[in-house]
Every structure is written in C-alpha cells, then in structure tokens.
C-alpha cells in the first residue's frame, strides 16, 4: 500500500516539479529583475542578491527593489500602452480572420470521407516540418514589390508594373503572416470538435423541419463552440506577444509589444524595463488563459 501511495505522489510530483522549475522559478527571476534598476554592470542591473553578505546585506538589497519600471512602462508619455493596445488589436483581428479561414477548412475535413481524413490532418501539420523562421522569410519573397504575388498580378495585367502592390512592411503583411502561421492551431481544435459531432443530429434536425443552413446555426455551430474558444485562445494568446512576424513582415509603424520588448532588451539594453514589459504582458494574458482553463474544466466535467 505504502509503495502504491508513493508511486501516486511521484506521478503527481513530476508535472508540478516541471512547472516549478521551468515556469515559476524563471518567472520569479524575471519579476525580480523588473523590480531592479539599470546599471552598467554584469548583469546590467542592481541590486544582485549576494548571499555571502549575510542577512543585513540581503535586507539592504531588498529595500532597493521598487516598482519604478512599472510606472515608466505604464506612463502615457511612453509608447508602451499604445503597443499593448495595438498588439491586442492586431491579435484580435488576426484571430477573427483565422476563425473565418479555419472553420470552413475544419468543417470540410470533418465531413470528408473517413479514409482521407488522416491525409488531410497530415497536410495541415505539414508546414511544421519547415522552420517557422524560413516560412516567414518566404512570405517576404511573395509579398515584396518585386515578389511572386506582384509578378503574378503584372502578368495577369491586374496591376501596373510602375505601381506594385505595397503589402510588405504594412499591417496587412502582419495579418497575412499571423493567419498563415497560426492556422493549424485554429484548425486542429475546431476539427476535433466538429469530428466528434454525431451526424444523426443533423438528420434529426432535418426530420423536425429544419433546413440545412438553419441546422448549421442551431446545431453544428453551438456544438463546435468549445473548439472555437480553444482555437481562438490558442491563436490569440501567442499572437499578442508575437515578435518575428511583425519584425520581418511589418513596417516601422507596426507597433507590437513583442517588438518593443525586443528593442528595450537588445537596443536599449534595459533588462529591467523589458522585464517589466514581459510581466505586464503576462498579466494581460492571464485573463484569457484563466478563461480557457475554466472552459476546459467545464468541458471535462460534462463527460
């Protein structure tokens, strides 16, 4: 009996240790840096806790911590708040676009003959076999003024050679990049929700006098909502902090918090401000994450 109980504790302890070591501890370190001050030193902030100094030095160091950086980040004079807002906006619009593109694809997959569904799933996952960075770079080749898209439009005579479409380095390019990169994260949960739906429900709806289009809104759509929420949150949360796509495809006026954080960290070499930005970003995202967790818990209960 005792060994059985120990085994159970071990099994439970592994994921918690994992979270503790790889999430909570790094977060606390970042949080501590965000409360420090910039300094020309190695590492570039003060105070660093030196345990050899004993309790007195520790207390002295502790007293030096302050929320000053948060005040700086949250001040209207700086562009951080604007960057947060702009990131949420871009991520929100992208999520809606992802849903509009992903839902029909997932629906088609779930209604496809059973024999070809694994192939379709494979095709959705296939882009992951190439590096994310390379795929985003490839979009530069497509969207640039001399890129493949413009070449095609020239050839078709839709666009004049003297005035190529300016897509690269605009917000449009960022939307295209996010929708393209995150599409599998939208399709997979939607597909999972739609695939497990019993098709006799639609027959029952038709039998009771409901034409197919109305049956979609009354039966299919509400039953796929857990997949819709899961897909939207899986896309929205990472899209808010996205750095690579706005950096490579966006213009100089594309303001996203990931890019701002990167600038603070590598250009301004302010570890403390970038840490504060990161902690605040986490705070902003905790709301949808908690919502998502709640949703999952409710879903589990229903089974």
């Amino acid at each position: 009996m005792a060994s059985k109980a120990t085994g159970r504790w071990l099994v439970l302890a592994v994921p918690y240790l994992w979270l503790l070591a790889l999430f909570l501890v790094p977060f606390l370190i970042v949080f501590k840096i965000s409360l420090s001050q910039d300094a020309i030193a190695q590492p570039p902030y003060l105070p660093t806790f030196d345990l050899s100094g004993g309790w007195a030095l520790f207390r002295e160091n502790f007293a030096e911590l302050s929320f000053e950086n948060y005040g700086y980040v949250l001040s209207w004079d700086n562009e951080f708040i604007e960057a947060y807002g702009s990131s949420l906006w871009i991520a929100g619009i992208s999520t809606i676009l992802l849903l509009l593109v992903g839902y029909p694809i997932a629906y088609g997959m779930a209604r496809a003959p059973k024999s070809i569904r694994p192939t379709l799933l494979m095709l959705v996952i296939l882009p992951f076999w190439t590096s994310f960075l390379i795929r985003v770079y490839a979009w530069i080749g497509i969207l640039s003024p001399e890129g493949l898209l413009n070449q095609l439009l020239f050839a078709l005579g839709i666009v004049n050679r003297d005035a190529p479409l300016q897509i690269l380095n605009t917000d449009t390019a960022v939307y295209i990049g996010i929708v393209y990169s995150y599409l599998p994260f939208m399709i997979l949960p939607l597909y999972a929700a739609l695939e497990k739906m019993d098709e006799t429900l639609l027959e029952a709806a038709a039998d009771l006098g409901c034409p197919p289009f109305a049956a979609f809104w009354k039966i299919t759509w509400p039953l796929s909502l857990p997949g819709v929420f899961a897909g939207c949150l899986l896309c929205f949360i990472p899209a808010v902090g996205e750095f690579v796509i706005p950096d490579l495809l966006g213009g100089s006026d594309t303001l996203m918090i990931g890019k701002v954080l990167w600038t603070e960290f590598s250009v301004n070499r302010s570890w403390t401000v970038s840490s504060a930005v990161a902690v605040l970003l986490l705070m902003v995202l905790v709301i949808p994450i908690v919502f998502y967790q709640n949703l999952q818990a409710r879903e589990m209960e229903r089974r």
Partner: protein
C-alpha cells in the same frame, strides 16, 4: 404501467383493435405506398423492386436481420435516402425528391439523436418552433408531450443528466410533438434492458392508440414486432418475404426463412407420400420408417421434397410408446434439457443423429418421475401442429 389511458378506453381500444383490418378492405386507401421501389448503393441492392401498402392508424413492423434493407426502406420514407427506382406515396403524394425537412413524417432515432446543448423542453419544442407555431401553443404542446411520456419534472434537464430510459422517452416525445402523419421508429428500444423494453412496448401501443397515429417500426427483435405490431413485414435481402398479422406469421409461415426467423422452430426435411383434401402424408428424412400426417391443403405432389415446421411448444415429450401407429410421433433420447423456469426445453436426439426441440410448461412444482438426460422418450404432435413448407 399506466400511460394515462383509462380502463374504459382501453376496453374500447381492444374492441377497435379486434376489428381493425383495413388491409382486408378493398375500399381502404393506403396511407403509405411503396411502388416498385429499388435502392442500390453502388453494386449493393439494399431494396429490391419492393411494393408495400401501409394503412392509416396501423402499427406496422419491418422485421429482418441486419442488412436486410429494413432501415433503408424507412429512411427512404423519412427522406434521408432517395430510391434509385420507384415511387413512395404518402397520402397519395409522391415523396421522391422532397427534402426531409418538408415531409410530414417524424423519426425516432436508434441513437435518440437528442440535441446535447438543449434542454429536454427545447428538444421537444424544436420541431414546433421550426414550424413557427406561436409561443403559447408551443408551451401547451410541449407540456402535453412531457405528460404523455411522464417526464413533467424533467423539462429543464439536459440530455446528459437523464437515464437511458428517460432519454428514450424524450426522443419519443420530440418525434411525436409535431403530430406527424407517420411516426418512424428505428430500433427504438434497442438500448433498453429487457424489463424496461417490455414495459415500453406496451406504452408505445397505448400511445399509438391514444393519438390515433400511424407507426412504422424497424426492428430485428421478433418478439418486439409480434408484441406491438398490427402487421409485420418479414424482410430478407431487400425483399418482402411475408406480410401479415403476427399470429399468421407465427402459425402459418410461408417459407423456411420466415418459420426460422420468427420464433423457435424445428424444421424437418421430408418427402411427400400422399396428398388428400385437407391432409398430407409425409416421410421425414430423419426417421424414414415413420409417417407424418399434417392437416393442410398443400399444392405439393407425391414425391416432392418439402419441409415441416414444428414449433417446440406444440410438441409433447412422453415415456410411453404410441398405442395407435397412425399418430405423429418420433422416438429418441434426451440429449439436453434447458430449464427456463416457466418452461423446460427438451432436446431429443433421433436415432439418425438429428435433434428436435420440444417445450413443456412446468405446470407443477414437483414431478413424480421427471424426464432426465439419456431417457428414451417419444415426441408427439397433432396433425394441425405442423406446417408444410414448399419453399
């Protein structure tokens, strides 16, 4: 179980039921007509040039093994499949090409197909709202349906908060709510346990009588079909083998297939010896020294190969040898006994190795000399117990 039908109405219902036989009335117009209907799925012929008439207020059962085409036949009436050839008429109107949502039939699905995100109330109201019935009328109808299936207190529950039997009732209420011309029941009781199934069968009959509706049930359970139906169609490989009242199907099967599929039966191969009006003499292959006399007018000629169908409950097992040599009798040894409580089934092995089953009701608790394994016994049956089958 009381379904709200009073004792008095039940008596009248019994009266109606006894005289109810529109299929014998040449003036009667069928409600549902299948006319030379064929349905093919690729190479597979699910329904093969089938014609069938079903009358108003009938409780009609389609009975057959899985894959015999009974479900396809029903789904064509609901509109989920279109026939490859032929016509399906409902109240004189050809239904082929009409989508399911415009047909005046409703179906109770084998899986119930209740909408999991809606309450019981909303499930039942779904079809009514689809017809844009006004709110007060919807509420009245839903309440009436909940009362009919005795789930008045469960309107606010979701399907996953109900037991299997309750879900079955919701599905029934939902399919009845629109008062369809025909209610289609696809294996409606398959998921219930035996006791509940038997109770529900009688409830279904009461509801059908009370609402005066036409019910078409698909089932592979012959007892269920016999219990609920006015007429049964026995199907095999997309064709109708026999369509008749349950007692006719059971007592006068028209083929080996029907005799074998409906109920327990002994089928003995035999050769025709002599044919007289009202009597046929046969030589069973399993006991060629004996002769069986069966009271039946039969189109067979002497020398024809036929089969005799004998129901186990119409056979008697005794120790004594027959006094009269003309009595129908087989001699053998008890090979096995199935004790069912109410009945005992004796498996008797004939000298040639063939086995027959005879059922005996256990009328008393004690028997002075019980029949037991390896006893030498005689199996008797009367001339009107057997049915001669020529196909």
């Amino acid at each position: 179980m009381n379904t709200g039908v009073t004792e008095k109405t039940q008596k009248t219902i019994g009266g109606i039921r006894r005289s109810f036989a529109p299929w014998n009335d040449p003036q009667a117009v069928p409600l549902i007509q299948y006319k030379n209907v064929t349905k093919r799925f690729g190479e597979f012929v699910a329904v093969d040039n089938l014609s069938l008439d079903i009358y108003e207020r009938e409780f009609f059962a389609l009975l057959g093994p899985s894959g015999c085409g009974k479900t396809t036949l029903m789904r064509m009436l609901a509109g989920f499949e279109d026939p490859t050839e032929g016509q399906i008429l409902l109240a004189g109107q050809d239904l082929v090409g009409t989508p399911p949502y415009k047909r005046q039939t409703n179906m109770m699905f084998q899986s119930y197909a209740l909408f999991p995100h809606m309450t019981v109330w909303d499930n039942i109201a779904f079809g009514l709202r689809q017809d844009r019935m006004e709110k007060g009328a919807v509420n009245a109808r839903v309440e009436e349906m909940l009362k009919l299936v005795k789930l008045e207190k469960f309107g606010k529950r979701k399907p996953h908060q109900l037991s299997g039997g309750q879900r079955q009732r919701v599905a029934l209420a939902r399919s009845l709510a629109k008062r369809p011309k025909v209610l289609l029941l696809d294996e409606p009781l398959g998921a219930l346990d035996k006791k509940l199934r038997e109770e529900t069968q009688f409830e279904l009959m009461d509801i059908q009588m009370e609402l005066g509706m036409t019910f078409l049930i698909v089932t592979h359970d012959q007892e269920e079909a016999m219990t609920v139906a006015d007429r049964i169609a026995v199907m095999n490989q997309g064709r109708l083998v026999q369509v008749d009242q349950p007692a006719v199907i059971y007592e006068h099967p028209n083929s080996r297939y029907v005799a074998d599929f409906v109920g327990d039966v002994n089928i003995l191969d035999a050769t025709v010896e002599a044919v007289e009006p009202g009597m046929i003499t046969l030589r069973p292959l399993a006991a060629p020294e004996r002769r069986f006399r069966i009271a039946q007018d039969c189109p067979a000629k002497p020398g024809d190969s036929v089969a005799i169908a004998l129901r186990p409950e119409k056979m008697r097992v005794e120790f004594d040898a027959p006094a009269d040599p003309n009595v129908n009798c087989l001699q053998g040894e008890i090979w096995d006994i199935g004790y069912l409580g109410d009945l005992s089934i004796y498996h008797v092995e004939l000298p040639g190795g063939a086995r027959v089953k005879a059922a005996k009701p256990n009328l008393t608790r004690m028997v002075e000399r019980p029949i037991t394994w390896d006893d030498k016994v005689y199996v008797y049956f009367s001339p009107d117990a057997g049915v001669v089958l020529t196909s």
